[in-house]
């Protein structure tokens, strides 16, 4: 249970002078869903590309299922299932053919994987589209087919790079539901995302990345509880009103204020926050709400996650 399927130690990736990944270490254990949360450009995809042996590691150690990625890229890739950020299904092949041809890349014959493919098509609700053209599928269906494809080799780790980016909310929830089902079946997952909601929903443990570094690691709700506290006050007020309101808060008592564009966030305000919200009396201008993952990121970096 505690054996690490993916082990990164002091992982660094340079592109010329640019440091895309800057000395990160983490362990992904069997059966868990491990999240990498961060904005675009944080180094999430580069990390994934190093794990899937499609981007050479500059320095540091990276092992997958005990194998060094540099030494044994083919063997490493054989135990991974990769869902890339952009769907790269094969439009020259039909839906079912996509899975069969992909299985063949792993040296698996059509007969060996027939049952697995039938199950995957059913699980991802694509069984009635088996002979469709890939281009005729909706975005949500293409995403599900890409996930089904990543499972044809019965991988030890399923790697999902922003699995729901670009999907509408309904399609996103369907993907989440199916990922939760895979998780309950014991599939180990590594998931990157910039949706805090996604990370909270799916991940047992996660790291937050920013500018190539890991800022914090932990369980989603623990991080929110430890760093943000139970409640956040969100203010949308002109500067003078805001300043007058904030002046009422007790000084030097663990209260943190962050300004992002026209929004002001007050963390750790306790009863003062509740009183301030009541005084303004308009939830559009002063809103008291539970803390979330986005707040964690905001507190650590002073900026939002989705910009």
């Amino acid at each position: 249970m505690t054996s690490a399927l993916i082990e990164a130690r002091g992982l660094v990736k340079h592109y010329g002078d640019f440091v895309a990944v800057d000395d990160i270490s983490f362990d992904i254990r069997e059966g868990e869903c491990f999240g990498v949360l961060g904005p675009n450009g944080a180094g999430k995809t580069t990390t994934i590309r190093m794990i899937t042996a499609t981007s050479p590691v500059t320095t540091g150690e990276l092992r997958v299922a005990g194998l060094d990625v540099k030494e044994a890229p083919r063997q490493v890739k054989a135990v991974l299932g990769v869902v890339p950020q952009d769907d790269n299904l094969d439009p020259d092949l039909l839906v079912r053919q996509n899975l069969e041809v992909y299985a063949r890349y792993f040296g698996l014959s059509r007969d060996e994987v027939r049952q697995r493919i039938d199950e995957a098509l059913e699980l991802f609700q694509l069984d009635d589209r088996a002979t469709s053209n890939v281009d005729d599928l909706s975005g949500g269906m293409q995403r599900r087919l890409t996930i089904a494809r990543a499972l044809v080799n019965n991988p030890q780790v399923l790697i999902l790079d922003e699995p729901t980016t670009g999907l509408d909310p309904q399609a996103r929830h369907l993907v989440w539901q199916q990922l939760r089902l895979l998780k309950s079946r014991g599939v180990t997952m590594l998931l990157t995302t910039h949706y805090m909601e996604e990370a909270t929903h799916l991940c047992d443990r996660l790291v937050i990345m920013h500018r190539g570094k890991i800022l914090v690691e932990g369980r989603p709700y623990d991080l929110v509880a430890e760093l943000v506290g139970p409640q956040v006050l969100e203010l949308r007020l002109p500067p003078w009103e805001r300043d007058a309101l904030l002046a009422e808060f007790p000084q030097g008592d663990g209260v943190t204020v962050e300004q992002v564009e026209d929004l002001t966030y007050v963390f750790g305000g306790g009863t003062a926050s509740a009183m301030a919200a009541e005084r303004v009396g308009d939830p559009h201008r002063a809103h008291l709400r539970p803390g979330n993952m986005e707040d964690v990121f905001l507190l650590l970096t002073g900026r939002g996650l989705l910009d």
């Binding site: 899937t52 083919r74 890339p84 790269n88 092949l93 053919q97 041809v101 063949r104 890349y105």
Partner: protein, 264 residues
């Protein structure tokens, strides 16, 4: 590290990539077949017979007879280049097909080798078909004079590999579909017109002949001409060696350029 090894890292995976291309092509076999089927008839009719009436060769042979080895070299060249220049670029850049394949145990070198083998297969199918058409038309047009012509089929592997490799090299450095205009106008078009398929090099000035020696297509045409007419010469072995060396060079270059494009 393995990804930057000097020698190509090729496995059975190359065959998997070849199979993928075969399956994708067979899905549209009717369209594919139509193109291959009609082409040689059109050019034999237009150039060989229609234009040929006005051409008188020193050797005394009819123009359509002179043209036969050129056609057997040209159309496979087109088949390989379309597959491995435009086709490969679409798979590389537009469809993300290479990216999806290298996430499996298949290496970049396997992918490129599989692509080149597939381009070669298309060239062979094309060349064999033209040879069959020419043989069927033999009672009227006398395009194939010698049973040695059958050797043109296995020999065709070499130019197939060569033109596929050259095309992959270009696909690997192209940044947009429009860049293929350079490839077509600077490489394929000159080879088409000046590769020795349409006129005898012997009648040209010396400097044109020297230039021709650097044209891969000229060597292919020379070999085919010898086999089809039955006039075997030692120079054909030289041409074969020339093609082999250049093919190895471009194959290794293709692998290296594609690694640079895909692994970074």
């Amino acid at each position: 590290m393995t990804a930057f090894a000097l020698t190509p890292d090729v496995s059975f995976g190359a065959y998997r990539v070849w199979q993928r291309n075969r399956d994708a092509t067979l899905r549209n076999w009717k369209t594919e077949f139509l193109g291959i089927a009609i082409e040689p008839f059109a050019i034999i009719l237009a150039l060989g017979l229609a234009l040929g009436q006005f051409v008188e060769l020193d050797s005394g042979e009819k123009y359509v007879e002179f043209l036969a080895p050129g056609l057997m070299a040209l159309f496979p060249m087109f088949a390989a280049t379309f597959e491995c220049a435009w086709g490969s670029y679409v798979r590389l850049e537009m469809q993300g097909t290479y990216e999806s394949i290298i996430a499996t145990p298949i290496s970049v070198d396997d992918v490129i080798t599989g692509e080149i083998l597939w381009g070669t297969t298309r060239a062979l199918v094309n060349g064999t078909y033209i040879l069959i058409v020419a043989t069927i038309l033999n009672p009227w047009l006398h395009m194939v004079d010698s049973p040695w012509a059958i050797l043109a089929v296995p020999v065709g592997v070499l130019p197939g590999l060569l033109f596929s490799s050259i095309s992959i090299c270009f696909a690997s450095i192209a940044r947009a579909m429009s860049h293929f205009a350079y490839f077509f106008n600077l490489v394929i078009n000159p080879l088409f017109w000046f590769g020795g398929a349409f006129f005898p090099f012997d009648a040209m000035p010396r400097w044109v002949q020297i230039l021709g020696w650097f044209m891969p297509l000229k060597h292919v045409v020379d070999i085919y001409r010898g086999l089809i007419t039955g006039n075997l010469e030692w120079g054909m072995l030289g041409s074969l060696a020339w093609l082999a060396v250049v093919t190895v060079f471009f194959y290794v270059l293709a692998v290296k350029l594609m690694r640079r494009r895909l692994i970074h």
